[in-house]
Every structure is written in structure tokens, then in C-alpha cells.
């Protein structure tokens, strides 16, 4: 038992100088092994001392109670004194305090002997999570294992590309002398912001060597300010150190901007749904914030650090798309190579966090890095579970993940369109012509439509040289079925998302004013994209969502209520994008031509089905050949007719 006599001895020890440069241990020539042994022994001593102290406290307390019993005091009186003196509560608090000190001491010693050990342990568990994710997804995401193992999907290669791109745009990665040895505070924040504005100009307002897009520049500028303000707020709330070096915050935000600019550049090269600035910052971060605001309004705690982590997860969640094994495959016409991109994004984050030079590791704790990693890895999960009036830290974390999932899964409409379709109105017409050209097998028409579109792009004075190159690349990515994955998105715009007092999610979606006209040009089913949207949120297949469900005012799902305003209640207001394509979808000649072509297309399709069916039938050879020949001739007549109609129109 550690009695007070022992303590007095320890008190005397205390009077000795703690450790001086001349103490026996420091005078000896300690090699790494001996240092480690010393650390382990001291660590054990702290632990033993803590245990002995708790035991001594407890035994002394028991002895005191026994003394009370010996005095023949009734148990009720003893209990009353216990309540009055709060002795049991004190004993328990002391135990917790001692345990915390022991943990702190052991962690401190561990860090001294192996400063990178903690990082290595975190990295290992993050890698385990990635492996678990891979084995879960590999069946549906063909080739994901190879893409994951590919070195080109690592942080090092991605960083090289980001640096190369930023330098090409004229970004100067130089430190700011005014920030040297300065803490992050309102003054240094202003210095950082001013320097970052120059970087944003080079990346987004640069007609000579970069991109030119004032809309994206504005979005990124607001994002940068918001992020820097949140950092300051998190400092005031005690979640980011007040002493953090301003230079580290600068480096972190500088990198965030560069990786976002590069992601936007890569996203614009193909015809997948957007995963650049519009998607990541313009929608996902904005909606995550909107959801967290809604949670906060209901009385649930939301801290600035939660919001910062939401931003950081979003900024990195689609990084997998920039990895060469995905980028090259998608750009060469294999869009399914993006499957499981979450895993590659998480790998990049993990490797980045494993480098002690990175600002990410200096700003965020290992625990926060693990949260970021999980958020990135599972960003499109359909799991949504909001907690209201729950003070547990886990509740805050689950709210953050739910906000991330909900934001990413609700970005399905107009501003998720690929860059080529969003920023070049002529591409909608080109896609309609490509549908016909592909169906009639006219490769000359395919080429001429694409060439015409590139000519149109080159005429636009607001595009930079780089913009034109990227968009031309996206044009070459277009094919006869591109419309199937894009046009349906014109059905609505930003949904309104809010959280109720019981944590239930409410989403309001309004059909866009030009939806029917846009899908009508291509003969698509009216609410196809809306059904996909509902299916994604409910974890169901699109086919399970019926028209009857759409006709209800509200669709009650497991955790989500959807309010649809479609048909006669659709929006009357037009967005900027809708105004841009309005002249195409209201061009009477083009609409009439598309209508005629759709009729011919359907007849051609019926004949093609008949031809397939005949080929599989067992008829007498002469009879079968004659029927096949006749059907083929009829198909060709339709193809010719369709070709002539469009050639006349194009003249």
C-alpha cells in the first residue's frame, strides 16, 4: 500500500533537482536501445504509481468506513455522512484524474522515443479500413484492386501533377516572410488571404496560362474566406491550438486551393457528372453547411471544427478521379473506371497524413485525420442518422458523416452536368445530332458534329487556351449515348434540405421549368433522373420507384421525407443555365426535326429488334435469308431518311 510515509519519502525526492545534464542517466552514453528501455521502465513506474495511489485511496476509505462501523454507528448515519462529504464521488473523481495523468504520461514518453509511432499506428488502421472497403466493393467495381495498388494512384504522383499544373498557371509556391514565427490570428489571417487571392487569380482568372471562369473564381474566393474564418472560430472554441503557426494554415489552404483547381481541370476533360468546383464547393460544401445549420437550429451542438472537417472531407472526397488509372480510362471512353474512386481518395489522404512535412498533419490531430479518412472513404454511403439534443461526441461525428452523405447523394441535377454541357450551350444540340448519327451509323456525321462543336467553342472569347483544349477533349469524349447520362439532370435544381426536431430529413425538390422540353428532344422518360435520385436516397433500384410514388405530395422513406413539386406545380423561374439553353429547346425547326426523327428512330428500333429475333429463329434457309434481307433493306431506308432530314437541316 502506498501510505503517507512513502509519500513523504517521495516528497523528499522531489526536493532533489528533477534531472540535470549531470544526472547519472544523462552522463552515461545511452544508445537507442537503452533509451527505449529507460522509457519503458519509467512508463511502467508511472502506471504502477497510479495504480498504487488509487488502491491506497480506496483502502483508506474502506478503513474509515470500518472505523465508523466499529464505533457502532448505524449504517444509515454512515450513508448520510458519505452523502454529505461526497466521499465516494471524490474517490471516483480522483481515480479518473489519476488514470488520465497516467495515460498522458505514458503517451508523452511514447512520443519521445518514437515520435512517428502514433502516425504509423493510425496509418495502419486506416489502411485496414481501405482493405475492408476494397473487399466489399470489388465485385461491383471491376479492376478496383489494380487501380488501388497502382503507384500512380498514390499521393506522391498526384502531388507531382498538382504542382506541375499550378506552376504552369503561374502560382508561386513561396513562403510569406511576414508569417515567420507568427501565430494564426486575425492579423496573419488577412496576410494569408491576400496572398491566396493572387493564387486564385492565377488558377481561375487566367486567360494566358490557366483557366478563365469568374463564376468558379468567386465560389473559391468565398470558400477560402469561409475556411479561414472557421479556423479562427475553432481556435476560439479550443479545437485548434491558439499557438498554431500561421504558416501551417497558409500551406494547408494553399494546397486545398491547388488540389481543387486541378480536380476541376480533370473533371472538365470528360462527360461524367461534374466533380470539380461546382460539385465540391458550389454544392456539396454549401449543402453540408446548410444541413449543419439546420441541426444547430434544433439545439444540437455543431462546432467550427466539425464544419472545417466537412469542408476538408469534401475537398478531398473525389480526388480518386484525378489518379491516372481512372483519368486515362475515363477519357478513353471507359466511364466505369470511376467505380470505387472513394478508395483512391482515401488512400491519397492517408498517404498525405503519413508525411510529417504536410500541413494537414500539423493542423489536424490523428483522431481528426481518422474522421477525415472515414468521411472520404464512405462519402456516398446512403446511411443518414441525425442526432438532436445529444451531447455525446459520437453524435456530433455521426451528424457530420450524415451531412456529408446527404449532400453528396442529393447533388444529382442541373449543376452536376459535365462542364461541356453546362458551359457550352451548343453541346446540347450536338448531343442530339450525335444520337441520330450513332443510331444510323454515320461516322462522317459524328465527326462533322464534333468538329462543328469544337469550332463553336473556339469562337467563344471568354474561354482561355486551356479551357478550349479541355473542352475539345470533352467533345471527343462525347458519343451517341452521352445524352442518356446527362440530359435527365436538367429536371431540377438545388434541392432544399432541412433536419426536423426528431432528426428526420426533409428534402424539397421542384421540377425545372424546361425539364419536359429538354428530355422531349431526346425521347427520354420524363422523371427518370428523379427516380434515380429517390432510389439512391432510399438505397433502392431506380426501377422500384413507380410513377404512382411520384404523384404523391410526399414520399416517406426510412429517415427521409421527400416533397416533390412537379408537373403543374413546377418552377416558373429559369436559372442562368436554363436561360443559356433556352434558345435551343425553343427553336421550332429543331424541335420539329427532333420530333420527326424520334418517330423514325422508334420504327428503326422495332425493325432492328425484328432482325435480331429473326436471326435466332430456325426457319428454312431460303425463307429466312429473304426475310432478313427485306428487314435490313427497310432499316436502311429509315437510316437514309433520317440522314437526309438532318443534312437538309444542317445546310
Amino acid at each position: 500500500m502506498l501510505d503517507l510515509e512513502n509519500l513523504e519519502t517521495l516528497e523528499k525526492d522531489k526536493e532533489k533537482p528533477p534531472v540535470s545534464e549531470k544526472s547519472p542517466e544523462t552522463e552515461m552514453n545511452f544508445d537507442d536501445e537503452k533509451t527505449k528501455e529507460f522509457a519503458i521502465s519509467k512508463s511502467e513506474e508511472i502506471e504502477n504509481f497510479g495504480e498504487e495511489t488509487c488502491l491506497a485511496n480506496e483502502e483508506e476509505f474502506k478503513a474509515a468506513v470500518d472505523d465508523g462501523v466499529k464505533l457502532e454507528l448505524p449504517q444509515d448515519d454512515i450513508n448520510e455522512v458519505m452523502a454529505e462529504t461526497k466521499i465516494a464521488e471524490n474517490l471516483n473523481n480522483s481515480k479518473i484524474e489519476v488514470e488520465n495523468i497516467v495515460k498522458e504520461g505514458k503517451d508523452g514518453i511514447k512520443k519521445e522515443i518514437e515520435p512517428d509511432l502514433e502516425k504509423k499506428e493510425t496509418a495502419l488502421s486506416l489502411e485496414d479500413k481501405e482493405q475492408a472497403y476494397l473487399s466489399q466493393k470489388i465485385i461491383k467495381a471491376k479492376g478496383l484492386d489494380k487501380r488501388y495498388e497502382d503507384e500512380r494512384s498514390g499521393f506522391k504522383r498526384v502531388q507531382e501533377q498538382i504542382t506541375e499544373y499550378s506552376l504552369k498557371c503561374g502560382v508561386k509556391n513561396e513562403s510569406i516572410p511576414e508569417l515567420e514565427n507568427k501565430e494564426y490570428n486575425p492579423d496573419t489571417k488577412e496576410i494569408i488571404k491576400n496572398k491566396l487571392v493572387a493564387n486564385l487569380d492565377a488558377l481561375f482568372l487566367n486567360k494566358e496560362t490557366g483557366r478563365f471562369n469568374p463564376e468558379k473564381h468567386q465560389i473559391m474566393l468565398a470558400q477560402t474566406e469561409n475556411y479561414l474564418n472557421l479556423m479562427e472560430e475553432a481556435q476560439n472554441e479550443g479545437d485548434i491550438s491558439k499557438n498554431i503557426n500561421a504558416d501551417e494554415i497558409f500551406k494547408l489552404v494553399e494546397k486545398n486551393i491547388e488540389l481543387m483547381a486541378f480536380q476541376d481541370r480533370v473533371a472538365s476533360e470528360n462527360t461524367l457528372g461534374d466533380h470539380g468546383v461546382r460539385h465540391v464547393v458550389g454544392y456539396n460544401i454549401k449543402i453540408t453547411e446548410q444541413i449543419l445549420n439546420s441541426v444547430s437550429e434544433k439545439g444540437q451542438e455543431v462546432k467550427a471544427i466539425d464544419r472545417i472537417m466537412g469542408h476538408q472531407i469534401m475537398l478531398m472526397h473525389d480526388l480518386g478521379y484525378v489518379c491516372e488509372p481512372v483519368r486515362n480510362e475515363v477519357n478513353s471512353g471507359n466511364p466505369t473506371a470511376d467505380k470505387g474512386h472513394n478508395l483512391l481518395s482515401a488512400k491519397i489522404l492517408r498517404q498525405m497524413a503519413g508525411s510529417s512535412d504536410e500541413a494537414l498533419t500539423k493542423v489536424f490531430s490523428q483522431e481528426q485525420i481518422a474522421t477525415l479518412h472515414q468521411g472520404v472513404l464512405e462519402h456516398d454511403d446512403s446511411k443518414v442518422n441525425f442526432h438532436i439534443n445529444d451531447g455525446d461526441e459520437k453524435a456530433r461525428q455521426e451528424n457530420l458523416f450524415s451531412a456529408v452523405h446527404l449532400a453528396d447523394n442529393t447533388h444529382a441535377f442541373e449543376d452536376k452536368l459535365p462542364e461541356i454541357l453546362y458551359s457550352v450551350p451548343e453541346s446540347l444540340k450536338a448531343m442530339r445530332l450525335l444520337k441520330t448519327a450513332g443510331e444510323i451509323g454515320d461516322s462522317d456525321m459524328i465527326n462533322s458534329v464534333k468538329e462543328k462543336l469544337i469550332l463553336d467553342i473556339n469562337k467563344h472569347e471568354e474561354y482561355s487556351k486551356d479551357d478550349k483544349e479541355i473542352l475539345a477533349q470533352a467533345v471527343n469524349n462525347l458519343h451517341e449515348s452521352s445524352y442518356k447520362f446527362s440530359v435527365g439532370r436538367i429536371c431540377g435544381n438545388k434541392p432544399e434540405v432541412s433536419i426536423g426536431q426528431n432528426g428526420r430529413v426533409s428534402i424539397k425538390i421542384q421540377e425545372s421549368s424546361i425539364h419536359q422540353e429538354a428530355v422531349g428532344l431526346f425521347g427520354q422518360e420524363s422523371y427518370d433522373q428523379l427516380k434515380k435520385f429517390i432510389g439512391d436516397l432510399e438505397g433502392k433500384e431506380k426501377g422500384e420507384i413507380t410513377n404512382e410514388m411520384l404523384n404523391q405530395d410526399k414520399i416517406e422513406g426510412k429517415n427521409v421525407t421527400l416533397e416533390l413539386t412537379i408537373g403543374e406545380k413546377k418552377s416558373n423561374e429559369k436559372t442562368d443555365y436554363q436561360k443559356r439553353i433556352e434558345n435551343i429547346i425553343t427553336d421550332k425547326d429543331f424541335v420539329e426535326l427532333s420530333r420527326q426523327d424520334l418517330l423514325l428512330s422508334r420504327r428503326q428500333k422495332l425493325l432492328e429488334d425484328k432482325l435480331n429475333s429473326l436471326s435466332n429463329q430456325s426457319l428454312e434457309s431460303g425463307e429466312k435469308e429473304a426475310m432478313l434481307k427485306k428487314t435490313e433493306e427497310n432499316i436502311n431506308k429509315y437510316k437514309l431518311l433520317r440522314s437526309q432530314i438532318f443534312k437538309n437541316y444542317l445546310k
Partner: protein, 56 residues
């Protein structure tokens, strides 16, 4: 030599951590001991009061 210096620094830091932790734990032990003493004192007072009440 550099490694030895580095290790000396580590030893110094470890000793510092050790001293700081044991100091803080000792303070808790003394505080708890006072609380136990106070508890026993109250028990004794109550017993004395009971005896006094009985005499009365």
C-alpha cells in the same frame, strides 16, 4: 555523438514527464487522504452527538 546527444535530450524529457506525473498523482493522494480524514472526523462527531443525545 549526435545520437547520444539526442538520447540524452530524450532521457531528460522522459524524466521531466515522470516527475510531473508523479507530482500530480501525489497531490491527488494527499487531497484524497484529507478527504478520508474529514470523513472519519464527521463519523466520529456524529457518534459523539449520538452519545450526547442519549445522555440527555
Amino acid at each position: 555523438m549526435v545520437i547520444q546527444n539526442e538520447n540524452q535530450k530524450k532521457i531528460f524529457k522522459i524524466k521531466e514527464i515522470y516527475s510531473s506525473c508523479t507530482e500530480r498523482i501525489k497531490k491527488i493522494r494527499l487531497r484524497q487522504s484529507d478527504a478520508n480524514k474529514e470523513f472519519l472526523k464527521k463519523i466520529e462527531e456524529r457518534k459523539i452527538n449520538k452519545i450526547r443525545d442519549n445522555i440527555k
